[in-house]
Assembly symmetry: C2
Homo-oligomer: 254 residues x 2
DNA sequence: ATCTTCTAATTACTCCGACATATTACAGGA
DNA sequence: TCCTGTAATATGTCGGAGTAATTAGAAGAT
């Protein structure tokens, strides 16, 4: 099973010079348009209620065909960002209609300067969900789950979190916990949020030293899950989330 | 292989009658295709890894233009259900790539016979999130929030939950709680799940009597939030979720 | 003879632009 | 104030050219 991240790894901060959306490798043209528009909406460049320029005009402005533009609009519509009706044009929907937990929307939100309030909301949600996930994992894990966690933990120790391999091991560890909950809804929710949030911390983190060694805290989570102790697992995971929050908060200069 | 009726209109009317009653967003053609395919995938009619018939063949089979089919595929792609690559065709992605929390995907999942395990997962998630939401609401609500909740409660009492007006009031009540959390991520998550799940209960519920009068339990939640008591609010909401779970479980014959 | 590697053709998606249709916001008249 | 007509705009359709990836076949090496 390829557990590949959605490709949120081309920091294409295309200047306003060319209206063309840069199309990365493997990214389709309409995907690039959707990416561009999605980021513009998420970054607050369009206010809810704003109506985008007409279809033909916009497509011409972006130097693409109407088909590509329309397919991009379909993507945004599917994610609840816009709605288009004849004569009225394509309007940006109010924020509460947005599909904020969609992985791509999350990626767009974090691509620019993420809204501080929104990051706070997400961490609040993580603080609610992830300890509960650890609790369930402690009750339901089997030997295979524990082995995967243990291996990931060892890999985290070998490489540090400063390396990509180390961060991959970190993801594997958390994914193993989510898998052990035997709850798909929980899995997709936490995985989406985690991917987006960790991406920012990684992005901002380059120059800064890690606040403290996170390995012992991970070990505590593992031990509690291995021991089948739900309460301790939840508590240990809560510490981990708090740690990530501090980390991100300081990275965002708050 | 027979010709199929292209009009797969279901009685979808707007869910929030609050705003200026936008006459049902007359489902577009590609929307109908996406609906049809999405339901087929969610109902397990296509296994992950299955490759759909070619674009031209499928579009011809459905008696629609390739453009309409393609835009439908874009919607499904945006929701992580399928992936299409040149030469390889359009393949159904593994379940863990699906955007299970997308409102439309949830609706598709519940349109047919919803998977029992998935329903269980969703209720587990609700049992985690909703009490926490009530807790936050108890800490952050202001007078306006309380007034909206109180009015909704009164409306619930006036009409019963057997009427559409009563269920609308129920939704208003829960939405007011979510608004009071001041957390958009929490709001969209819970609203999506709640809408899908409550829709099924409503669907299955017609002939069956309600297991017990739910009003007092709602009042308990309101009182705790009004009193600013986070712990009591969380506990009372937990009771409400359990009640909904029993309700749904018995409706699904479990 | 079997395996490996490279090339080429097939195939299906991707993008395009033009045309026809349906819907609706808006304005002007009853 | 209400109604009705019109223009503006999105939606649906079509066929074709372009592009990329899989597959199969050919050539070479062991």
């Amino acid at each position: 099973m390829g557990k590949e991240n959605p490709s949120l790894q081309d920091g294409e901060t295309d200047k306003e010079g060319s209206a063309k959306a840069v199309r990365g490798p493997g990214r389709r043209l309409h995907g690039a348009i959707a990416h561009k528009l999605g980021m513009a909406i998420l970054s607050g460049q369009y206010q809810p209620g704003d109506t985008l320029s007409g279809e033909v005009a916009f497509a011409e402005e972006l130097e693409v065909s109407r088909s590509a533009y329309r397919e991009a609009i379909q993507v945004l519509t599917a994610k609840g960002l816009v709605e288009s009706r004849p004569k009225a044009g394509t309007r940006v929907l109010p924020r509460n209609r947005w599909n904020l937990l969609d992985p791509e929307v999350l990626a767009w939100a974090f691509a620019g300067e993420p809204d501080v309030q929104f990051v706070r909301d997400l961490f609040e949600l993580r603080a609610i969900v992830e300890p509960a996930a650890a609790r369930l994992a402690a009750q339901r894990r089997d030997k295979d789950d524990l082995k995967i966690m243990k291996d990931a933990l060892a890999a985290m120790r070998r490489h540090t979190l400063a390396t990509e391999a180390g961060r991959a091991a970190d993801r594997d560890f958390h994914n193993a916990i989510l898998n052990a909950t035997r709850n798909d809804a929980l899995l997709v929710l936490t995985a989406s949020i985690g991917a987006a949030v960790n991406w920012t911390t990684q992005y901002k983190q380059r120059a800064r030293a890690l606040p403290r060694n996170p390995i012992p805290d991970h070990v505590r989570v593992y031990d509690a899950i291995a021991a089948g102790d739900p309460v301790a697992a939840a508590e240990a995971m809560g510490v981990l989330v708090d740690l990530a929050l501090e980390d991100t908060a300081s990275a965002m200069g708050n």
